[in-house]
């Protein structure tokens, strides 16, 4: 131990070595291997992967209408989920940060966090119950003379927005908590009314944090395939295409090619986000 004490580099090596072998070599290696596989092809006859370099999988992805539609639909759903979450998260975050007294604030924080730790599957399942025939949503819709949307894209968007909501509330709350009350007071003293203060002080402060939250809501939606299978009826998102090609269709090169779409979209999104300076608020 004493020799180690005199050699900080050796200690650092011992500390970092095993985790880096695990994450840096095994995990990154697995990711790299996956994306290399996307550039290989599969023998349609034997089902075996042939190690020939080709862009066939990507060509299929971009030229076959079904896949293009699914890709655009997935991005659309991700964007819609993000917007809904931002709209819903803002008032509750504002209430928690600027209106609620400390005791109530603590309670609300736990109330918001608790569902985050409830099982993902159970939450999606809960919405299956809500949207089921004769379930709460349909009885509520029928009570006002409307037809329930049932299982489908609407239910998928609602369920995904529900699943990721805490990821949006937390950053917005953190951002608002940092906003000094004196700024709001100054605005009021200078004659700014509530709406003006909201528009000119609170909203500009909150934008980077909304962007930070959107990273989660967007990314998580892009990779999801379970919620849509539970409440989405026959609709498919990109995740379903990946899943089917790993499983029943057993076409790993194509699955890998499809899986690059959410990764590339996310990298592009992150690159845009970096320019807004929201990364520092993560």
């Amino acid at each position: 131990m004493s020799t180690l004490h005199r050699h900080p580099k050796a200690r650092l090596g011992l500390l970092l070595g095993p985790p880096m072998l695990w994450l840096g070599v095994a995990y990154l290696g697995a990711l790299a291997a996956l994306f290399v596989t996307a550039l290989w092809t599969q023998n349609g006859f034997t089902g075996l992967i042939e190690r020939q370099w080709t862009l066939d999988s990507f060509r299929t992805l971009f030229t076959v209408d079904v896949y293009r539609t699914i890709a655009l639909r997935t991005i659309g759903v991700a964007a819609l989920v993000t917007v809904i979450d931002a709209l819903v998260a803002f008032p509750i975050a504002l209430y928690m940060a600027k209106v609620a007294r400390p005791g109530l604030r603590r309670f609300l924080l736990v109330a918001v966090l608790m569902p985050l730790w409830a099982s993902y599957l159970v939450k999606a399942y809960a919405w299956r119950g809500m949207f089921s025939e004769g379930g709460l949503v349909s009885s509520a819709f029928e009570a006002v003379g409307l037809k329930s949307p049932g299982y489908g894209l609407t239910a998928t968007v609602v369920t995904l927005a529900y699943l990721w909501l805490p990821y949006m509330i937390l950053p917005i709350y953190a951002g608002l908590e940092r906003l000094p009350d004196s700024l709001l007071e100054a605005s009021a003293d200078l004659g700014g009314r509530s709406l003006q203060t909201l528009r000119r002080i609170i909203l500009p402060t909150v934008v980077p944090f909304v962007v930070a939250g959107s990273i989660f809501t967007f990314s998580l939606t892009l990779g999801d395939y379970i919620a849509v299978r539970i409440v989405g009826g026959t609709n498919q998102l990109l995740g379903n295409v990946v899943y089917d090609n790993v499983g029943s269709a057993n076409n790993l090169p194509f699955a890998a090619a499809v899986a690059t779409v959410p990764v590339v979209v996310m990298l592009g999104y992150l690159a845009v986000v970096r320019r807004t300076g929201a990364m520092e608020s993560l």
Binding site: L108, V110, M130, Y167, S194
Partner: protein
């Protein structure tokens, strides 16, 4: 108070409404677990304990529960060791590539689960030639669980600083004694919170698990998913879901008490 009274009232009403939307679906699952009607028509008319009794006897669910518990424990042990090591390395040493290392820790949870899932599936089967099963689930879970332990420990290390450890060394304690008597007690509650949250994270996971479990092993979420679309299993699935909702309260409550700040709970996910 600088926010006007009407605005505050509007915010309060919206907050109550949002929390209602958050909790109603979960409460509905709880209520339906006692609903005699198998199709869960709303409103429920008669109540029964029959489904809870049958669920307690469902061998499939119990086996899956036991697998989930063992996976969760094993993955947590690995994640505890690796996550703590990285936290110490990043917090106590200054070296080139620190940002890369912290990015690497977050990567398995930042990338869509399906990407991590098929990457590991491909690596296990084609690179290593392994059979998918218990061990591969544990490896996969540990990979994305490291970040939870890491977040909890590094937050604690940032807060405590190094003065106490330096004092211990100045007083002649060996590195091991300092760790045993000073460092470990300082981070103990952070480790406990990390353990609970890591276990919860592993216990719930389904996407990565689907791709790393193979056909022979079922965790509880996979069992639920496989039985979700079978009408005659519906009441039992619902009871399992209700039980999971009740039990998910425990780690959050405990971790919140242990770490003392609620924000750290969100950090891992």
């Amino acid at each position: 108070m600088t926010i006007s009274r009407p605005t505050r009232i509007v915010l309060r009403v919206l907050t109550v409404l949002i929390l209602a939307v958050v909790y109603v679906p979960l409460l509905l699952v709880l209520v339906n677990s006692f609903n005699l009607n198998k199709t869960f028509a709303w409103p429920p008319k008669e109540f029964t304990l029959e489904w809870w009794r049958r669920a307690a006897e469902s061998q499939g669910a119990l086996d899956a529960l036991w697998v989930s518990v063992r996976v969760g424990l094993a993955a947590t042990v690995v994640a505890l060791v690796l996550g703590t090591m990285i936290a110490f390395a990043l917090q106590r040493f200054d070296f080139y590539g620190r940002d890369t290392v912290s990015l690497l820790v977050i990567l398995p949870i930042a990338l869509p689960g399906i990407v991590t899932g098929i990457a590991l599936n491909n690596a296990f089967r084609t690179l290593f030639g392994w059979q998918l099963g218990f061990v591969t689930i544990v490896i996969a879970h540990a990979t994305f669980c490291i970040v939870t332990v890491f977040n909890n420990v590094i937050a604690r290390l940032r807060r405590t600083g190094v003065q106490l450890e330096q004092a211990s060394a100045d007083l002649g304690a060996s590195g091991f004694t300092t760790f045993r008597l000073v460092t470990f007690p300082l981070i103990r509650s952070a480790l406990l919170a990390g353990t609970l949250l890591t276990f919860a994270l592993s216990f719930d996971e389904i996407i990565v698990t689907t791709f790393t479990a193979g056909a022979s092993v079922q965790t509880l979420p996979i069992w639920i998913f496989n039985n979700l679309f079978r009408p005659n299993q519906a009441p039992i699935v619902n009871v399992v879901a209700a039980a999971l909702i009740v039990f998910s309260v425990i780690p959050v409550w405990l971790a919140q008490r242990l770490s003392g700040d609620a924000e750290s709970l969100g950090a891992g996910r």
